[in-house]
């Protein structure tokens, strides 16, 4: 297991300083940490695409944003990524829960769980699957992509990776 507290510290240590999202139970520990941290100033987004817009504005205003979402929200935000971030070159770190991974989940998650990686690939969204041992490595890759290529970078989070609070 990866500690939410430690991972939030790592994010902040890498200079991420603007946090928003729409919750998923898989990310409940992370969001609880962010909500408890006044510095982090976590902002609840009403929809994932609004979160994409919010992060884009924050980035252009000088922040380094992180957007947390369930993969169902990837469907909602696909147009925002393709017609905003990817063409204007506006980066954001996306932390996306991988519901339906391996076909074991509630019915509404099965299709997205199955196509999640393919959909990221086809839409030109680079990503890595986060695990217990690669946090530092994927965060430095993410930072490089964000700084050099100015593209969104996604970390996929499987069930049970973080200490969940729900």
């Amino acid at each position: 297991m990866l500690s939410s507290k430690i991972f939030v510290d790592k994010l902040q240590g890498h200079g991420f300083d603007f946090f928003t999202g729409v919750p998923c139970s898989l990310l409940s520990g992370l969001i609880a940490e962010l909500e408890a941290d006044r510095e982090a100033g976590y902002i609840p987004s009403v929809r994932e695409d609004a979160g994409v817009g919010l992060c884009a504005g924050a980035y252009m205003g000088g922040k380094r944003p992180v957007l947390l979402m369930q993969n169902s929200g990837f469907g909602y935000s696909l147009n925002a990524f393709t017609s905003l971030n990817l063409i204007y070159k506006i980066p954001v770190l996306v932390i996306m829960s991988w519901r339906g991974c391996g076909g074991k989940d509630a019915p509404e998650h099965i299709i997205m769980g199955d196509i999640n990686e393919q959909l990221l690939k086809t839409s030109g969204m680079e990503y890595a699957v986060l695990d217990e041992n690669n946090a530092d490595q994927v965060l430095s890759t993410a930072l490089k992509k964000i700084k050099d290529e100015k593209v969104p970078y996604t970390l996929l989070v499987k069930k049970g990776l973080f200490d969940e609070r729900h």
Binding site: R47, G51, G53, A56, G57, A58, G61, S83, K89
Partner: protein, 186 residues
Amino acid sequence: MKGIEAFKELAHLLKNEPTVLANGYISREFFNVTDRKENFYMIGSMGLASSIGLGVALAQPERKTLILDGDGNVLMSMGTLAMIAACAPKNLIHIVIDNEVYESTGSQRTLSHEIKLEEVAKSAGYKQALRVTRPEEIRPAYEKLVQAEGPVFLLIKVEPAFDASQGRVTHTPEEIRDRFMESIVG
């Protein structure tokens, strides 16, 4: 009043405020009236001018920040009005060019003939929300709102009267981003 009359009035009032413009004719027409580096012309991502503007306002709390939105765009992202009200950035001015149609796609009607968007904004929790219908009302309304604590909302009723012979935004998306960021963070 025509949209272009509203834009010409506004162009006189703006200084160096970062301004996020809704997609479609709003970006295009304002570009032709005054092409400032502070203009972020949104070409896709319909509905997101408001959340982008909120992000800029939160990242730059000392800079007055403007959103130049359309009725169709606002209706698509009505939840963002709640986010703006809840985050309550004092420096944010949300202006809506309300022509009661999706003019950019052929003037199909929106819902803003029936739904008063400034009342939605007020109920959501914007500090002030005004509606103007004549060009000479724009300056006093804007001057009042620019001095007030945000977030504030200005609805400008216009007739659909876009001149389609006007050119499109000529800057590439990356140029738009670079100019915009340069004007904010240098």
